[in-house]
Structures are given as structure tokens and as C-alpha cells.
Symmetry: D2
Subunit: 386 residues, 4 copies
Amino acid sequence: MRELRVGLIGAGFMGKAHSLAYAAMPMFFWPAPAIPVRAVIAEATEELAAEGAARFGFESSTGDWRRVIEDPSIDIVDIATPNHLHPEMAIAAAEAGKHIICEKPLARNAAEAKTMLDAVSAAGVVNMVAFNYRRTPAVALAKKYIDEGAIGEILNFRGTYLQDWSADPASPLSWRFQSAIAGSGAVGDIGTHIIDLARYLAGDITSVIGIARTIVPERPKQSGGRDALGTSRTGGELGPVDVDDEMVTMLRFANGAVGSLEATRNGYGRNNFITFEIHGTLGSLFFNYERRDELQVCFADDPSDRRGFRTVYTGPAHPYGEGLWPIPALGIGYGETKIIEAYDFVSAIVNGTPVRPNFEDGYRISLVADAILESSRTQQWVDVDG
Amino acid sequence: MRELRVGLIGAGFMGKAHSLAYAAMPMFFWPAPAIPVRAVIAEATEELAAEGAARFGFESSTGDWRRVIEDPSIDIVDIATPNHLHPEMAIAAAEAGKHIICEKPLARNAAEAKTMLDAVSAAGVVNMVAFNYRRTPAVALAKKYIDEGAIGEILNFRGTYLQDWSADPASPLSWRFQSAIAGSGAVGDIGTHIIDLARYLAGDITSVIGIARTIVPERPKQSGGRDALGTSRTGGELGPVDVDDEMVTMLRFANGAVGSLEATRNGYGRNNFITFEIHGTLGSLFFNYERRDELQVCFADDPSDRRGFRTVYTGPAHPYGEGLWPIPALGIGYGETKIIEAYDFVSAIVNGTPVRPNFEDGYRISLVADAILESSRTQQWVDVDG
Amino acid sequence: MRELRVGLIGAGFMGKAHSLAYAAMPMFFWPAPAIPVRAVIAEATEELAAEGAARFGFESSTGDWRRVIEDPSIDIVDIATPNHLHPEMAIAAAEAGKHIICEKPLARNAAEAKTMLDAVSAAGVVNMVAFNYRRTPAVALAKKYIDEGAIGEILNFRGTYLQDWSADPASPLSWRFQSAIAGSGAVGDIGTHIIDLARYLAGDITSVIGIARTIVPERPKQSGGRDALGTSRTGGELGPVDVDDEMVTMLRFANGAVGSLEATRNGYGRNNFITFEIHGTLGSLFFNYERRDELQVCFADDPSDRRGFRTVYTGPAHPYGEGLWPIPALGIGYGETKIIEAYDFVSAIVNGTPVRPNFEDGYRISLVADAILESSRTQQWVDVDG
Amino acid sequence: MRELRVGLIGAGFMGKAHSLAYAAMPMFFWPAPAIPVRAVIAEATEELAAEGAARFGFESSTGDWRRVIEDPSIDIVDIATPNHLHPEMAIAAAEAGKHIICEKPLARNAAEAKTMLDAVSAAGVVNMVAFNYRRTPAVALAKKYIDEGAIGEILNFRGTYLQDWSADPASPLSWRFQSAIAGSGAVGDIGTHIIDLARYLAGDITSVIGIARTIVPERPKQSGGRDALGTSRTGGELGPVDVDDEMVTMLRFANGAVGSLEATRNGYGRNNFITFEIHGTLGSLFFNYERRDELQVCFADDPSDRRGFRTVYTGPAHPYGEGLWPIPALGIGYGETKIIEAYDFVSAIVNGTPVRPNFEDGYRISLVADAILESSRTQQWVDVDG
């Protein structure tokens, strides 16, 4: 069976998720398109990289990410670092002819993303952005229903991504609150996920208007090399937050649909509350990632005395079901979304088939994100050009 | 015990709801501030009015609504007609010194509403607009929590009012689809309800931008004198719809909060889906009228291992609980919201205390509605002046 | 239009609910089968009765319930008193030729219930027991589905009625905790409601085994004449509870189905948690009264990629929908269940059609309740004879 | 870092789940107590085993499970085969001094389970039964609350395990429907899971009475070597089902609590519907595995105007949170329950600490299962002896 050797850059939370995906993918999708080999992992220091290799099961490690790219045995470069590092790494990897999967958002802004897109286009390598939530089986089922025409023409798409892990002002000044590293805040970090879902399910976005604003202007500085995502109640010196905590938007789609997207880091009680509601001329869909085994669908054509949202639990009869668990509700977790992502990415490399969201999608998502930020400044509707 | 004689204009769905309220109010809130007497009911014809009197328990009936206002024994004029009739009736009633409760929206637009406000102000009569949903006990509980500071300063208010009773293009051309009668569509009919909730809970709205659009441009004309709210699948000749079916908006509040309101008549699977989610600096609230016995509240200060939305079922320990049912979840229905409304209105008359939403509120709600419609035309943020 | 004169005995919580029903019934179901006239109300004292008349809109009042029965103008006797008074009142009313609606449970035990059944049978009067929850539109819809064969043959019925209004040991010693008045505790008070639903939906119960036990053995004695249902945290002298707080049961149905019923007064967080889940050979049903506008139904024959519980909100397309509110989820409350009950009872009187649950049902429900209590003592399965 | 070499017997669904657990455990729980090495996998044939090795990442494979046990390099024997093979394998592994993790139920009945318990006790090896659901973080949180006294003394435990993957009579005659292999049906397969949860959370079970019955008496025979769990609508020759499809029970606990357990394979619309509701003297708990990120808890001491079930999403602040995902609701799937299980098992081997459920628990669970089956035959309460 063919093997694909993976070089992973980044041993944090995303490094963990991707490592799990490579290890588990053939266990789930068998026969596997190829066996991913966890070949080399890079981190900021040799020590961190070595620990990552031991923890995540890589053959070797390095404190210099360029070694990963220079290694001719490596087929796949997996970029799981903070955002500001994506362009340099991805462009180098593309120039080295590596297939690339890059964590989201593709870059800090669309201009940077465009350089990455140009690089992979020139190199002709398989490229993917890790907007994993569209690979939740229930989301893929929503896409299937839409493609089948089951809810008719889409009228309205309403998406949210609400969190509270940093609602507490005592939550530390992670890199996610620093524009030099992250580019933007809620817009880029979580807003782009729901932009991806909107584009995936309702099509191209043509214009937007939004409000993006910072709610917590200062946070305690972090110490130590690791990012403290999700911790809270630390003390110490404060540093400025220069990204947005919240976005509220309206948008228009190419197909005539309208809608809204909201993202916040200050929604107490919401954890990973990624939702969408879609109204069509023949039905409606509702999804909430916090209950991600379920898709709600209402068909207008059901008899009037038997009509209502159906709660469909995804399983073998639904997208990716042949590879997952044998009955519905055994349980889709975060890991499964990443395992499916790895499966589709590896399949694309092996089979030469397209895979999305690719860097083109990542770029267009950044265009939307940039337009939201611009519209918040100008208070005007902004066309999404591309 | 004091009696207040009621003259009701309109024997449709709203006439039913108000009649129930007058009959039941003393049964619930005892000792009652006064006993409402169902004195006279008016409808378009003598026949319809007589039927209304028999059905709704009124002493007499008339086919001429002016008789109600001319009757010196009448204390309360209750206007439960289509929107275009509100101004003339309310102004006449005010000039006759009657206390007035008027169905919502107050008028077809803010200019009309202003004439009504001026009339009641000049007359000094007690006045109320029947935005009943804020009287759902769980909504009143949300208000109580906010006033107590339990969720801190409000950051974001997100409201929806989604329906599907007319999503089917074969649903008839009710007066609610005709601008000459209704003024506007989803904006005025259901959008104003959620505007009322937004103002009640999050305060004054200072600017808005929205999209309002028609989804179903033609519908089968109705025959017969009665409006066919909620029926569907009729056939026959089509007539034009000249009001909006859907609105999507963003808004800013005087207190610095931002938010969004959405209303649609084309959300299959949503029936009377009035929801709000409020994020504050110390907690969050969520309400869904389709499960109206419940309020969801999350307190940021709960210990981290015990924090999450609480589902509070309203009952004797909550607003209006002393008058309703003896235990929670016995069941709040539409009727109860109207019974409470009647209680607060009658109490205001008897006790001289203010009651809201009054015509001032109704006028300001119309200003917001008008601003939404204007912003949809101009594609610009519109300040809400008043 | 024909009038039926009602004599109501009892001006407590149930008196309120029944009064509402008589006043509102013609407003909802029109043309009404007859107009109920609130003629006379009886309570323990003249004073309480007079207050009841003023509050509930009755023409006259009396401190002696026998006056109600002796009054030849009275058509309907409505018994809304504590349980121990039901037999004497109902038998007297039957002998006087009155139609009778009696609050549930019919009596303290089956032997007493049988005397009442014999009396109404001999008198040939219309008789009904006020197990109102089967008149929730969503419950009636479940019955409709079953009768249509939509879920096939019933395999399993699982019912619960869980409450917490008296879970606190400081909650007072209401008559509901005294066997001399109530007969039994959770079994008779709330267990009988779920027995009624089981018989209504799944048919006759042939044998049972259960556990019935007292959890709070003593409670503060009440003072004053009124029962303090739903209050808590009183102090003072304690008195013994001699009824059960909780029942757990298994049961067998005549049609071969099996199941279980549970009722408790000590389920913190459950308020009026009347639920059933029914598994059939072609589908399933689930209902929770706390979200009573909804019925959940799963059809086995739905395509495997679109199968799941449908959440059907009851409205005009469902049982009783023509008389209730014009769209689903406007809101069914406790009052509506009683309004429907009154409608069916009055219709039976006017039209001579059968109405259920009648005293025969009430007697058979008491047989089941008695069998549960017996099985708890003997720890043996007990056949339900009748 | 210490390594533990694993020999896995069985390459089906459970082999997949366990392989994932060994691969992922150090990624999640770091520093890991030891690194599990996927050393050897056994299946019924060399070919199936070789495929399993390739798919699940094992160093070698064998068609003879005894080779696994004879291999002196193997530390852990993991038994993931149908039930009838457990005793021989486990006893052999114990005699060879291997630490053992065995899939559930421990054996076809308590007598067999006892031989396994005796073997591991004599050998002094670490032993565990893979009742994984108690390792769902939300279930572990329920245990934590109970141990902290947060809901007081337990009064009632109500558990269900409802499925529908084989509700269709055309679903094939898997080994799970054959008593010679499985021992029993719903009782042993899924009932034991909920028995485990009942014992874990509410303590020892002292007596039971139940109904166990077969609903679908014949099913299409399977062809080919693999078990078709979760498929349906096959045709062909029918064979007899000689195990139960459904159990309904009542039970008594050593601490005085009562309760019920229900399990069925014929609950259309229920997929992996493992629920428990626990009423205590100070609060209540509710859990539904289909929404497994959530635990519902109600605290009686909350103020009356703020009391209701809290929906707690498990994350870093809850059991096992340090090793899982950085924020709540990123998503717990089936995999995570197995990763935690592997972590606790490996920790016990390395640290010498107890781990449960062990074979003693597995045996006692089988005693309860056997008692349920006996009580169904005798229709008498049966004491659970041990």
C-alpha cells in the first residue's frame, strides 16, 4: 500500500488533532487511499519538537521547520502554526513541490493569502485549508440535501459561531488577540469557519456589511512558550488586545440569497456554538455543532399533519458513514472531523481529484473577512471582489 | 368591585384573544383591580357583530364602530382591527376620553403612529399597544434578571421572529400582504414584535441597517369577508403582494450594545419562533417562544465545573406567578400573555400607574421599522430619530 | 342557542381552571354545541363561595353544595373538590339527574369509584373524569397516529409524571399528603394521569407490579382553610405523611405491549414532566408536556438518510386545531386542555355521543392504581380485574 | 518512556476502537503513563489478521490468538471478540501473566464470568472490562457531583439504552442474536452498559424484577465471515433469534434507592440512546449519550427564581479535561471514551492503582443480568447474590 510521508509543523492543539487524524485515518477508511506516515515534526525548539515526536508518534523531529521542507522524502507539509507563519511556510513548501494542508485561516488577510494561492497554483501541488467543520457528517448531509434539491432554492443563511472561553477579561493575551500574529480576532479565527460553511452550503458571497469590535481591550500577558488557549483567571501585567472580539454581519449571496453571520468570543454559555439555519423554498435546515451528531431538516412537502423538523442522527446511511462508526450516535467528536479531512486530502493526492476548501477557497474566505472588517470601518456595504 | 366597560372593535382572531383576556383576568389576578365588562363589540356588519357578541360574551353589538366610541358608558376602547383602521379609531376614541388598547403595530408607519400618540397625549387617556410577547412570564423574567444586573452590561441582542404559515405561495393574499392595509409585511407584522422585545430588554435603538424583501410576489386572492390567516393551498386568481416577506437587520443600541433582528414568513418548520439571545458581561440569556415556559440563563460567576445555561421554568416564583398556575410548566399559552396584558392595562387605569408599551413605544417601534425599510432602499445605516 | 347551566363545587385551583373553560369554550369552538352558563358555585363557606362567584363570574353562590344539586335549573354538576368528597357529591348529583364532570382521580380507591360508576350508570347521565392531559392537542395527535396505524403495533409504553413542587421537606402538609382525604399520594394524584394516558394510547392494562414509597415522612402542618399547593419553606409543627411520594412500576397491556410508569414528587428540576415514549413496529412517539406544543414522531418507513424524530408543532392541521389558535406554537397552555375538555363534555351532552374518560375509565384507572399499591405491598405481579 | 506491548484479539468494530485508543492515548494524555505499542493482532484467519495489522497499525499479525498469549513480549492482552470466546482467552491470558482488558459483557453469563474473575484474581494481573460509557466525561462529572454530595442521597435511578439498528426484521441474524455466542440479547449487549452506569453512579444493586422478551423471532441469516452490525434490508433464508430484544426492569439498590432500567433494540428513532436520570435529596442529574458533551444538573439549593437544570458542557474544567480538547463542545466522540479507557487501564498497570470496572465488576454486572433474565421467567423479584 502506498505511503505518504508527512512533515508536520506545529505541535500544539492542532498538531495533536492532525497527528490523530493521520494515525486513525486508515483505521476508519479502509482500504485507505494511502497510509500517512508521521515522518517528521517541527516546533520552535528542538526540545519542543522532540517532545512532539514522542507524544504524537513521529519518526523524527526538528527545531527548524525548513528542514521539513528540504527533506525530499516528505510528500505532505502540514502547517499547524499561528497564522503569521503560514505564508512563508506554505510558499516554501509549494516551491519544494510538497502537497500542503494549512490550518485556517489561510493567512492574516487576503493579500497574504493570495501569495500562497499563487504559489500552490504555480507549483501544481494539492492544497487544502483545514476548515474542518464542513466535514462534520451532519454538515456534509446538509450539503447533500441541498445538492439534491431537497430544500429548494436557498433564501436565507444564518450562521453563528459563539464562544466564551475568553469572555472572562482575565483570560490571557493569547496570540489570538494580537493582530501581528493573528491578523484579526473573532473574524479571522472563528468567523472564517462560518464563512466557509456559508460558501460551502449557500454559494459565493457577493457583498457584506458588518460590525467588528473589541470588547475586552486588555488582557494579562502570557508567560512561557505555550499558548494558553482556554485557560482563565490568570493575573499579572496587562497587554493590549488589538483585534476584534465580536462580529455582526449581513450578507448577500450570488444566488440571490441573503443572510447574516455572527461570531463572538463573549457569549457566555456558548462553547463551540457553530450553528446555521437555512431557509429554502422547499424546506429548512438547522445545525448546531454542540450537538453535532444531529441535523435538523424540515421538508415543506410533508403532509401538514406530519410536518416538522426531523432530527437526523448521522451514521452509516449518511456522508462518510461507511468509514465512521457502525451506528448513529455512537459519537462524532472533533477528531472525526479531522480524520475525514485527512482522508479527503490524501484521497486527492492519490487520485488526483479536487479537494476543497483549497487555497482558492481560503483566499476567497479571507476576501470576505477583509470586507467585513472594511465595512465595519466605513459603515458601508462592501463588495467581495476576487 | 369597580367595573370597567369594554368596547371591542374587531371579532377576528384578536377579538377572540382579547375577549378571553377580559373574561379570565379576574379569575387569575384576584383581587382584580377591576372587573372588565364585555359591553359592546363592533364588526364590519351587524351580522358579524352579533355573532361576535354571542361567541365572545358581549352584552351588545354594532356594525358601526363609532357607536362604541359614542357610548358614554364605555371606559375602554379595544382596537383589534387591521392596521389601516387604527389611527381613525384611536384618535376618535381619545377625543372621546376613552382609555385605549390597540393591537400592534400601532399604525402602518411612524407618521400615522405619531398622530395617534399626539391624540392620546392631548386627551390624557391611558394607552397601550398590544405587543403581548413581552408579557410572557419567561420574557418578564429575563427583564428582571437584566434589571437586577445578573448578566451585567448588555453586549449583544440577537432576535428572531420566524414563521412559515404563509411560506407556501398558495397561501392566500391576506390583508397582511397588502401595503394599503398593513403598511408593511414581515417588518410591521412580526418584526415589530421583536423590535419591542429588543427595546424592552436592551433599551433604545439608535441606528439600523437592513434588508427587506418580498419572496412570494403573488398570491391567490381571498374571497369572502374573513381573513384566512394560516390557511393554505387555495387556488384561483392571483394578486400582487406589495409588502416584504423577510427582513434581516443589524442595529446599534443607545447603551453601546449591537445586535441583529431577523423576521421571515418563509422559514419552513418555524411556527412562532420568537427568540432572543442576549450576551452580557456577566452572563447570557436565551428564550424561544415555541418553548415559552422556559428561560435559559447562564451566569458567568457560577463555578467553572458547574456553569452552563439553566433552564428555568416559570411559575409562582417568577413574574406574574402569583396570578397564573400553581406550579411551573402547567402551561403558559397564548391566552395567558393576553390575560396578563389585560391585567396590566386595567391596573394602570385603576391605579394611575404607567403601563408599557404605550403609544409612545408604539410610535418609536414604528420609527425603527420605518428606518429598516429605508435602509433597505438606501443600503445605508439609518439613524432612528424621534 | 342552547344554554347549559353549570353548578361548580370548589373554588380552588381547579375551580379556576373549570371556570375559565366554561367562559372560553364558545370563544374557541364556534358555533358552540351550547353556551355554558356559570350559574352557581359552592364552597365550604358562604364567604368563600361568594368570593368565588365574584372571581369566577358565577351568577350565585352557596356554602352548601347540596343546594347546587337540588337546584332544578342546573344541568351540569362540576366536582372540583378534594378526592374524599367525590363519591357523595357525584352520587347525589347522579340521583338528581345531573350530568357530571368530576376532577381526577375519580375517588380515593376503586371501591369508591365503583359506587360512583354504578350511580351514573343507573341514572343514565353523561359523566366524565377530568384527566385533562389527554386533551393536549399533541397527545390527541399521538392517538390519531396510532389509530391510523402510523407507528404499527405498540410494543412498549413508557410514561412518567415527575414533579418537584413538594420535594422540599419544608413544603406543607397539603391534603394531598393525607390518605383520609387523598386516598393515595403520587399514585392517585399524578400516577393516575399517566395511567389514563397509557390506557388512552396503548389500551387496557392487564397486570402491574410496582414500588410505592414515602420519601418525606413528615411535613409542616397547614393553617387556614386553603390548601397551599406549590408553596414551600414554611415552618411550624410537623404532621405525618401517610401516602406515597413515588411510584415505579412495570406493566403489561392486553395487546401484548409492555411498559413502565413512574411518578414522583421528588424529582428536582422536573415541574410537570408528563412524558411518554411509545415504540411501535413501524415507528415511535415521544411527548413531554413541559414542551406541550410538540409531538415527536419517527416513521420507520422514512428513507434511511432522512429518518429521525419529527418535531410536529400542533396547530390548525391537528386535532382540535379548528378551534384553537390560527397557527402552531402560538401556544397551548393548561387552560386550553380544560377548554377542550369542556367542549367535548358539552358536546356529549348536546349530541348524545360518548365522551371519555368517563366514570368507567375512572374506575378502571383506580383499579390499576390500587393494583400498583397492592403489588408494592406483596411484591408480586397483580392482575387488574374489573 | 516505558512501552507496553499490546496483543489485540479481534479486528472488527471493537478492534478499530481499541487500536485508535492505543494510538491516540499519548497524544491526549501527556506525559503518558506509558506508550502502548500495537505489537500483534489476531483474527480468525491469517488473512483477516494481516489486513487488521495493516489497517490498525500493528507490527505483526496471526490467525491463532494463542500466539498472542504465548508471546513473552506482550504485556497487555486485549480481547475484542464475540462473547463466547472471552472466557477461554481471558483465562489463558491470565495464566500467562498478561494484563487483560476484555470487551463487554465479560461473558455470556455470571458463571462464566466467575471463572474469568477467579483466573485474574489468582494471577494478580490488572484486569478491566470495557464498559466505556462511564468514561464519557459528562458521566464522570455526574459521578464527581454525586461523590461531592451535590445532589444529596440518591432516591431514584432511571436508565435506558434504546437502539433501532436492528428494529427492522430484515436486519441480519448477527451473532448478537444467537445465544450460543452472545449469551443473551438486549440484556447482555446493551443492558449491561446501563447496569454498569447504575452501579457506578448509584451503587450496588440488591434485587431486580424484569421482563425480557424477543420481538423479532427470525432474521435473515448472514453470509460471509463478517458480522453485519448496523446493516439492514437484506433478504434470504431466515434463522431463529433465541435471545431477548427488549428488557424492562425495576430494581432496588443497597443504599435504599429504587429505579428502573430499560433496554431495547426496537426503539425506532433512538440510536445510541443511553440515558440516566437520577433524583437525589438535593438535586437531580440527567444525561443522554446522544448529546454526550452535556450533563444536566439541578441543584435544589439554587434560589427559587433561578433554579432549573444547568446544561454543563464538559471541557477542561471537568474530569479528564486536561487531556482532551482545549474548550468544551469541540466534541467528545466514541473514540474519546476509548482513549480515556486505555489511559486509565495503562495508568493502572504502570502505577499499580486500581482500575474499574474490573472483572469483579464485570462478574457482578453479569449477576444482575442473570437475575433480570431469571425474574422474567419466574415473574418474581430476584435477589442479586454475589
